[in-house]
Symmetry: C2
Subunit: 328 residues, 2 copies
């Protein structure tokens, strides 16, 4: 593979962000910020750990690593602007496949007019993608997980567990997909980060947001801990797609709580501003569901409780403590 | 290895940049830019490709990957502000070693009051580090490689080839280091990016800058191509340390032209502003040497010529076209 030819093939032909001054043809990129705060995050995905070619085409891999980053930006209430991609290429990947992988990223990036402004291309033994994203948010409007208050409504966008269900089918079944299964597979391969919805919350005075990348049990615990509150949720109220209910009736509840990367947003907002959240959902066509509420913490630190079969249980962050790819 | 304990161990206890609003305890970091342009770059280093534990201690590895990025910021004339680190950890690295690696980065970062504001920690088969840096530069003062003009003086900071010489000794000799060798090894393991020097050029109207990460033959060709000019340099005028002349008399010229990562700055400036470059060098204690000049291009695209043994030769970018880690 010819490095120069590959790098040429992934370079953008034009840039869309007016704030960009210098793109990828110098030692670094330069942009002129407007009167907003800058938001940035980085995420790495490694073949065999975070994705497999058995369950994803190259285009999906590209799409998904950028989606994970955009989901982080959405969880801060910010608008995407730029991204940089560092790729480690092993000998068994061909240039054409890598170009398709970049196309997958570009497909998602162009939806938000994001510009690819930098990166690195190195060789190694395993394919690895590290994406850095940069966005902006109106001053004082970044959305932190630490601002939940007792009395808040706990809500989540979209439906839960679909991505995990799609993965399950790809790993273990793999033949004769129904229409329902196709839906679940798409939610696994090409999940939609909730960028527009988060942007539409701009007028709200206060909203806590966290993106769902490890199941809501984990994300809810992060909010409870950061905000020093207890969260109470009702299992019956969790939103599930009819597709997952039909295809995986015995597993969907578990997957909704601790399953894979749905890239939905989990949030809390005051009763007074809940109407604005519902309006944002309507304007963007992204469903939002009230799933519980925020309470004063009872113990020494915030915990999450879930009402299940007529009784309250403590919901732990559920297991993702081994080294498999936790973001900041 | 316990991921949470590791992540806790690398989290900064405090932040130094007043523009930082949110560090590493949310989905993304947030900062409020001042009235300057923002500069950003990313660089990846993979064990066995870009470094080896046979020639570097973990602290050097950390130091060096950040140094490579800071060198990119310096080559844009910008002041470092923040960095994010994505690390892929294979089973054979212990937590204590990784903490030392981060200490190596922190050693360099703290010199510039840079804050670690994000990152990712994933598992994989080979150690890989991707560092994203963010800096700022006064408006219209980012330094591009595309602004060289005929009549300019061509200059370079520091001395050339020392890093490559240090690596040579570590790879092939490895015993009984003299004082000279120790100097060369330090230049390999802990090169100093020329941040202060680049900052001191702020008042200049125009200066082209490129950092020397693949030998000046490569970087000079980048300037020639981007600026559409010819560069003429004199081999006799290239700056070499007495240490490299003494220890590697037969190789130093070659290494200076196409050797490893010295992280010096190669630049061009008008005759009128050359005095300001020399003053910047004096103020920062970083030597600067005139090594040639910029001429009108003679062919269809800019080339680099070098005067060697009473005749002119064309200096090609010298070989680094295979896939080993080219930055943007």
């Amino acid at each position: 593979m010819d490095e120069f030819s590959f790098i040429r093939s992934i370079q953008p032909e034009y840039y869309q962000q007016s704030s960009l001054i210098k793109g990828i043809d110098d030692d670094a990129a330069v942009f002129r910020p407007t009167d907003r705060d800058i938001v940035t995050a980085v995420d790495t995905m490694v073949e065999g750990v975070h994705f497999s070619r058995e369950t994803m085409e190259p285009a999906h891999i590209g799409y998904r690593v950028l989606a994970a980053n955009l989901s982080d930006l959405a969880a801060m209430g910010s608008t995407p602007l730029f991204y940089m991609v560092s790729i480690t290429i092993p000998p068994n990947w061909q240039q054409e496949e890598l170009e398709v992988l970049y196309d997958g990223m570009n497909q998602l990036a162009s939806r938000y007019k994001m510009d690819l402004i930098g990166g690195d291309t190195v060789s190694g033994r395993e394919l690895s993608l590290t994406v850095t994203v940069i966005g902006s948010v109106p001053k004082e409007k970044a959305r932190y997980r630490s601002v939940a208050k007792p009395g808040d409504i706990l809500f989540v966008t979209g439906t839960l567990g679909d991505s995990r269900a799609g993965l399950e089918w790809l790993l273990n079944d793999g033949k004769g997909a129904t229409e329902d299964i196709t839906y679940l597979i798409e939610r696994h391969r090409e999940p939609t980060p909730r960028v527009e919805f988060a942007e539409q919350l701009e007028e709200l005075e206060r909203v806590a947001l966290n993106d769902v990348s490890d199941g809501i049990a984990n994300e809810a615990n992060e909010i409870a801990e950061a905000s020093d509150v207890d969260l109470h949720m009702d299992l019956e109220s969790l939103p599930f797609s009819k597709q997952i209910r039909i295809s995986y009736p015995d597993q969907y509840e578990e997957w909704g709580l601790s399953g894979g990367e749905d890239f939905e947003l989990l949030g809390t907002v005051s009763e007074a501003e809940w109407i604005s959240v519902k309006e944002a959902a309507e304007r963007t066509g992204i469903p939002v569901t009230k799933i519980g509420q925020v309470n004063v913490k009872q113990g020494s630190s915030g915990v999450v409780k879930i009402y299940k079969k007529q009784q309250w249980e403590v919901l732990k962050p559920s297991g993702y403590t081994h080294l498999t790819g936790e973001g900041e």
